[in-house]
């Protein structure tokens, strides 16, 4: 059964999937704590404009999507700080305008657009060594940043005033958290597609939350669930000839609902 991982493209898929599982579920704790799942969705959808810019300019689309998502993360942070609009409203505007810009730019390119389909729904089996390298380097930087500032990031997520009173510079940390989340979500679009990219941020942490005895336990359990989901999702999609991204997301959802049932019974 595991001989499929002797194939080079499956090895790349597995390594990429595991990296993303670790990065996204590690950050997902903050998404759940700060109730930011709409932020992740908004960034993922608006990154279509970044993909389109890359495709039109014959530039590597993953990098242009990361750059665009950083810009959108910065814009959301700035508008939250400077305007009186609610976070939901700001993200709603960024979400739809980024998606609209992406669709408009894509219409300038005639003919069949395999990149567009690949970025919309993901294609983990088409991950190149370059994709893997970019995902690994950016993912490592994100994990290192979060690990270094972990306690302060949790504190600003619990109560910003309390964090400030304890001498934590909450504004700059919040900005870096937004930028890290923006990049992490975009890393996932190659695998899950921009429509499903935020799933690995939310589902494993939501599943682990009911069973975790502490925050440290929540982190390790979320990462474990995310890795298992990616691994089994890859196997199922390969043997049943299913699209990989949606298979991983649906499997995550099934594990989540089974965990709810198990929790209810116990």
């Amino acid at each position: 059964m595991l001989e499929i991982f002797e194939l080079a493209f499956m090895q790349r898929a597995l390594i990429t999937g595991i990296i993303l599982a670790v990065v996204l579920s590690y950050l997902g704790v903050f998404v759940i704590l700060r109730k930011m799942s709409f932020f992740a969705d908004g960034i993922a959808h608006s990154s279509l404009a970044g993909v389109a810019i890359g495709v039109l300019a014959s530039f590597y689309p993953l990098v242009s999507a990361i750059a665009f998502s950083l810009l959108m993360g910065l814009l959301i942070y700035y508008l939250e700080e400077k305007s009186r609009l609610s976070s939901d409203t700001i993200i709603g505007i960024i979400f739809s305008s980024g998606l609209a810009l992406g669709a408009m730019l894509m219409s300038f390119k005639s003919g069949y657009q395999p990149e567009l389909i690949s970025f919309l729904f993901g294609n983990i089996l088409a991950i190149s060594w370059l994709d893997l390298a970019v995902i690994a380097v950016v993912g490592l930087l994100i994990v290192l940043f979060v690990k270094f500032h972990y306690k302060k990031l949790v504190l600003i997520s619990l109560n910003e005033d309390l964090a400030n009173a304890q001498g934590v510079k909450s504004k700059s940390l919040k900005l870096f958290l937004y930028l890290s989340l923006s990049m992490a979500v975009v890393l996932a679009i190659k695998v899950l597609g921009l429509i499903l990219a935020s799933a690995l941020l939310i589902i494993p942490v939501a599943t682990a939350k009911s069973f975790a005895k502490s925050l440290q336990h929540l982190n390790s359990l979320s990462i474990f669930i995310a890795i298992i989901t990616v691994f089994l999702g890859l196997l199922i999609s390969y043997y049943f000839d299913l699209t990989t991204g949606p298979t991983i997301v649906l499997l995550g959802a099934v594990i989540f609902f089974l965990s709810l049932l198990f929790k209810e019974k116990n």
């Binding site: 306690k151 302060k152 504190l155 619990l158 009173a165 304890q166 925050l215």
Partner: protein, 236 residues
């Protein structure tokens, strides 16, 4: 005369173009317990945040004789008004205390938890504690650095009567045993009479300052809460 713990001169705060506090002046001496009273929106939380340097202001704030904007040697503790999060979030009491950047070693956290009689709950999830227990944990994080001044913003909101009594006993203990100067905002006038040395009456402006038994008059209460407010006699 005792040393000044907190000195506020001509303090005004504007937030988003709205005058929240105007021309506030008062002095607290070391070791006093001061209560900020006033209706919702009176500026009690804003006053605490101005002293902590969390909002910009006009005027002068001196803590133990030092300007609160520059480098300082004093230590402040803070218990915020709102502290609610996902009830399923598995953050333990110990983990929460470990996030305080002022914490030097685990022994300090244990000592603070024993001080507020919450040591046996150190491995419990914070979200699962009662309102009163959660408030004690918040006090524990605020006293980790053995602060000179402790600020508590409406600390008894959502706490039942027995939890409230226990809470004020801890405040009394910190003040009497450790000599901590305490500033708390409150709606509970009965507790203000019982535990506060000084009361500051706020409703954007300052309506009274001094010994609660003398400063809180019928006129002051009417200025704060409206014409129909009654001053009920209080038994000490």
């Amino acid at each position: 005369m005792k040393d000044k713990a907190l000195e506020i001169k001509n303090l005004s705060v504007n937030l988003g173009g709205i005058k929240v506090l105007q021309n506030i002046n008062f002095i607290l001496e070391k070791g006093e317990v001061a209560a900020l009273v006033g209706p919702n929106g009176a500026g009690k939380s804003t006053l605490i945040k101005a002293v902590l340097g969390l909002v910009s202001y006009k005027g002068e704030i001196k803590i133990l004789g030092q300007d609160n904007k520059g480098k300082s040697s004093y230590k402040l503790g803070y218990v915020p008004q709102y502290f609610s999060f996902d009830l399923e979030f598995p953050l333990t009491v110990n983990e929460f205390l470990s996030f305080n950047p002022k914490l030097k070693d685990k022994g300090e956290a244990d000592k603070a938890l024993k001080e507020v009689e919450m040591y046996k709950y150190k491995d419990n999830k914070l979200a699962k504690l009662s309102g009163g227990q959660k408030q004690r944990v918040l006090i524990a994080q605020a006293i980790l650095s053995d602060p000179d001044l402790l600020f508590l913003d409406e600390p008894t909101t959502g706490i039942d009567a027995s939890g409230e009594k226990g809470f004020y006993e801890i405040i009394e203990h910190l003040n009497k045993v450790h000599g901590t100067t305490i500033v708390l905002s409150s709606h509970e006038l009965s507790m203000v009479y019982k535990y506060a040395d000084k009361v500051i009456c706020l409703n954007q402006e300052m309506y009274c300052s001094g010994d609660p038994n003398k400063a809180i008059t019928k006129d002051v209460l009417e200025s704060l809460y409206g014409k129909d407010t009654e001053l009920k006699p209080h038994i000490h």
